[in-house]
């Protein structure tokens, strides 16, 4: 009984934090129509700024708290709205997703830059010196009481804002009818800015409240606030009261789970390990119960269908690449070959996204999960090259499962579902199958006649696998299947009314894409000969998707470009070091640069690959197309006409 009470109190307190963060997310979403994936990172930045003021600079809490919550965070939110979000007005979900994911990575990178994560920081609980109170046999700290009071206060405050103040009422109206709202005299831009300010303030509040408990880790804090997204979904991203209830339910579930739920399930040890995955499982289940979205068309305005090389062209391109690979293999040192090979492996995993996201338009934030499953299968295949097959199959099976479960979801919800899957697998599978923070040793597969233990040979092999996969993906794109995927991307509704079972199409493409990622992962495992859970974490998947987006989501060039940039970012300090430029070592350049690039380029749906494609076209028009040996494909013909 005591235990139940104790867990209930803890659950309610955690639930209040979830409710707070989710509330901020929902306020921003309902008003601006943008689901802010960076919300968790904003909360984390709030906690770090607060730490900086109170612990580092010794400001009194009573000064620092209002400065962060009422000045810095809202200003920060308003600035993001003004600089990044306002120009996006009316952009598709796809674009806002990329931009907010870019912000998320950028903020994480920035936090790592300003606050060296190697150093330990402690943020004391609020009113830690006050004596805990005994409420009906349960000892409650003042920190916990404050969390509950803060949540109640925010709920009352928002209720007041939305039901009695003019601006609040206008905020409620702005999404439903911006014109009506404009008529009432309130400027929609101003209102949205306010909603971003409130959202950021609430995120910061949540961050500051949980930091003493979770610890000052940028990653952990960000992810914890992200757990609150599940509560927002309970409110269907609309209703604040339901969101609050969702937060409390989630808090209770998380608190009860290890004691009252997991031990009573079959495979209780396995389920016990899943404790940290509970919020994501909750999120996944909620997504399944969302009312079915109506089939809607995707916005294709401005998207170019980049030139798809014909078979002869792609074979020629592949040949050139293999020749280059041979040259590189003899020129580079073993260490550099490992890095270069890694880039081709990344490019291979990006090919899976070209197929899935580029061609068929489905966002996936879990590419590294499939990748990791591939590596995991490889680790259990000894020195057999069949590990590549098992890797592909295991990942494909997982992909099929995800696709079947998420068949009804699209856009933001599909992104959230794949995010939940990736994060759930992070904490529920990789961390415990590979051993948290530990690593798993692999043996490189062996082939007859080929010495795979040589870095040169293995690099060459990697390039060959990539080239074969790229030629395959291009062949798919040119054919019947490619047309079907493009059609599905352009208009799911039209596909359905033409007799296409869109669910099957989705499942097939998801499975195939996951399979490619699995093979890439198996190659990765074999190449590295050691894997760690953090290599497959969800943030890496985000970075990959963004890198592809930067390169050009539906081109092979995009995959290569994305893989190279993302592979080069971590090497930057060293490379620039040769030129006398020093960068702080711990800067997570990947996140920082990928994030900023995604923010700046995310608005262009074609990415750099599209730009290159357009440039090539212009050049060819200028100098005549006589130099192109292969017959132009239909896409080329179109572009030349248009």
């Amino acid at each position: 009984m005591d235990q139940l009470l104790q867990l209930t109190v803890v659950g309610l307190v955690v639930g209040c934090v979830y409710a707070l963060t989710a509330t901020g997310l929902v306020v921003t979403y309902t008003t601006s129509g943008i689901f802010n994936f960076a919300h968790g990172a904003i909360g984390m930045l709030g906690a770090f700024s607060y730490w900086q003021l109170t612990v580092k600079w010794h400001w009194p809490v009573l000064l620092a708290l209002p400065v962060v919550l009422l000045v810095l965070a809202p200003l920060f939110g308003a600035t993001i709205e003004r600089i990044v979000m306002r120009p996006l007005h009316g952009a598709s979900v796809d674009v806002t997703l990329v931009i907010t994911l870019g912000l998320l990575l950028f903020f994480l990178g920035a936090a790592n830059y300003f606050w060296d994560q190697g150093q330990t920081r402690v943020l004391p609980e609020l009113l830690a010196s006050w004596k805990p109170v005994d409420i009906g046999g349960v000892v409650v700290t003042w920190g916990q009481i404050i969390i509950v009071l803060a949540a109640v206060g925010v709920a009352i405050g928002l209720r007041f804002l939305f039901s009695t103040t003019r601006i609040g009422i206008a905020m409620r109206g702005v999404v439903d009818d911006p014109d009506l709202c404009a008529m009432s005299g309130a400027s929609p831009a101003r209102i949205q800015q306010l909603s971003w300010a409130i959202g950021a303030g609430l995120a910061a509040l949540a961050g500051i409240l949980v930091a003493p408990k979770v610890g000052m880790s940028a990653l952990q804090l960000t992810l914890l606030v992200i757990n609150g997204y599940a509560a927002a979904l309970f409110g269907r991203l609309k209703s604040l009261p339901r969101t609050a209830v969702g937060g409390l339910l989630l808090g209770l579930l998380v608190s009860y789970y290890p004691v009252y739920v997991a031990p009573h399930l079959p495979f209780s040890t396995t389920f016990g390990q899943l404790e940290k995955a509970v919020p994501m499982i909750f999120l996944g289940v909620l997504l399944l119960f969302l009312p079915s979205a109506r089939l809607r068309t995707a916005t294709t305005v401005g998207r170019v269908a980049p030139t798809v090389p014909g078979l002869r062209q792609s074979l020629a391109g592949g040949g050139v690449m293999i020749v280059l690979a041979i040259a590189l293999a003899s020129a580079l040192s073993s260490a550099n070959l490992l890095i270069a090979g890694g880039m081709f492996i990344s490019a291979l995993s990006l090919l899976s996204l070209v197929l899935l996201t580029g061609y068929s338009g489905q966002t996936s934030l879990c590419v590294l999960t499939f990748f990791g499953l591939g590596a995991f299968a490889m680790a259990h295949s000894g020195t057999s090259p069949l590990g590549l097959v098992w890797g592909g199959l295991l990942a494909a099976a997982a992909g099929m499962l995800v696709a079947l479960v998420t068949a009804r979801l699209r856009g933001l919800y599909l992104a959230l579902a794949t995010f939940a899957f990736a994060k759930g697998m992070d904490v529920g599978f990789f961390n415990f199958k590979l051993g948290s923070g530990q690593s798993l040793q692999l043996k490189r597969f062996e082939l007859p006649l080929i010495d795979t233990s040589s870095e040169k040979t293995f690099f060459f092999l990697t390039v060959v696998v990539f080239v074969v996969a790229a030629i395959g993906v291009l062949a798919v794109r040119r054919g019947r299947w490619g047309r079907q995927l493009t059609a599905l991307n352009d208009s799911p509704a039209a596909c359905a009314t033409l007799g296409v079972n869109t669910t099957i199409t989705k499942v097939v493409v998801f499975t195939a894409s996951a399979g490619i990622a699995g093979v890439a992962g198996a190659m990765f495992g074999a190449q590295q000969e050691i894997i760690t859970p953090s290599q497959f974490d969800v943030l890496g998947s985000l970075a990959l998707l963004l890198a592809l987006r930067i390169g050009g989501i539906n081109t092979i060039t995009g995959a290569l470009f994305g893989a190279f940039t993302i592979g080069l970012f971590p090497e930057m300090p060293q490379i620039l070091g040769h030129f006398g430029v020093t960068l702080p070592d711990k800067v997570q350049l990947t996140f920082l640069l990928t994030g900023i690039a995604a923010i700046s380029i995310g608005r262009d749906p074609d990415g750099l690959g599209g730009q290159v494609s357009k440039l090539g076209l212009r050049l060819r028009q200028q100098f005549g197309s006589s130099s192109t040996p292969a017959a132009p494909s239909y896409e080329e013909a179109t572009l030349v006409h248009g």
């Binding site: 089939l295 305005v301 998207r303 269908a305 047309r483 079907q484 352009d490 359905a496 033409l498 079972n501």
Partner: protein, 263 residues
């Protein structure tokens, strides 16, 4: 406001036909749709006969597009049924209805914008080849349809670069590529010039003569009067008149609805 007295209104049922009559290719049986507070369609009954062009007309917001969405399964009705070729398809998903010979075009375009005009039609022909027993060559089908709907001159253009009128023809061609028995067209002539719209009219008459049941929503009165064998008039979600074009045109209720809509 409404020209029909809500209190005394009796849903207009097309008593002339029954969903089980062999010549009835499509029967919309007392379908109602409600969106929150808006009653978009109220117990509308529509019969479309094989080999005929049926018109569905009415002022803006009358519920025509919503009716199309219900017929194709994209929207679930609050009540009512849809019969295709005497079979109740109310419980079927859109793709299953399509496989039973139902095709449509969209008022708000749903083209495959990044594909060329010909590839739009080719894709549809390939879809059909995938799900039907007919294994005729999709490329031949596509070429033939491109010519039939008159898109040869733009067949290699990306469809999102085409003017709306031509994009509508692409949707029509795409629908035809599935060899439908029932073809629903939502404002196919909007965006077409006089000559093009006349050619479209001829095409619709031809299609009907081949045995297809064509149901067309169109604001171009001349076109409707010329091609339709029978017309249903929707107003505020209710069928207020059914009959031959001449009779419908003379119907005072119809005139009142259109006049009412104009002020």
């Amino acid at each position: 406001m409404s020209t029909v007295d809500l209190e005394t209104y009796v849903p207009h049922i097309d008593h002339q036909y029954d969903p089980r009559d062999p010549e009835v290719a499509l029967y919309v049986d007392e379908v109602s749709v409600r969106f929150g507070g808006v009653q978009a369609v109220s117990a509308a009954t529509i019969a479309c006969l094989a080999g005929q062009v049926t018109g569905l007309i009415g002022p803006n917001g009358a519920g025509k597009t919503t009716t199309f969405n219900v017929i194709t399964g994209l929207e679930a009705p609050t009540s009512g049924k849809v019969f295709l070729g005497n079979e109740d398809v109310s419980g079927l998903t859109p793709y299953k209805r399509a496989r039973k010979g139902l095709a449509r075009t969209f008022q708000r375009l749903e083209v495959f914008g990044t594909l060329t005009a010909r590839d739009n039609i080719l894709a549809a022909a390939e879809f059909r080849r995938g799900w039907s027993k007919d294994k005729s060559n999709p490329r031949a089908v596509a070429d033939q349809i491109v010519e039939r709907v008159g898109l040869q001159h733009v067949q290699h253009e990306r469809v999102d670069m085409l003017p709306t009128g031509l994009a509508r023809l692409v949707e029509l061609g795409r629908g035809l590529a599935t060899h439908p028995r029932v073809l629903l067209l939502d404002e196919p002539a909007s965006g077409l010039d006089m000559a093009e719209s006349e050619a479209l009219g001829d095409l619709l008459i031809d299609l009907a003569q081949e045995g297809i049941a064509v149901l067309v929503v169109e604001h171009d009165v001349d076109l409707v009067m010329r091609v339709c064998d029978r017309i249903h008039v929707l107003d505020f979600g209710r069928i207020i008149s059914v009959g031959f074009p001449k009779d419908v045109q003379a119907d005072p209720a119809v005139q009142a609805a259109y006049l009412g809509a104009e002020d």
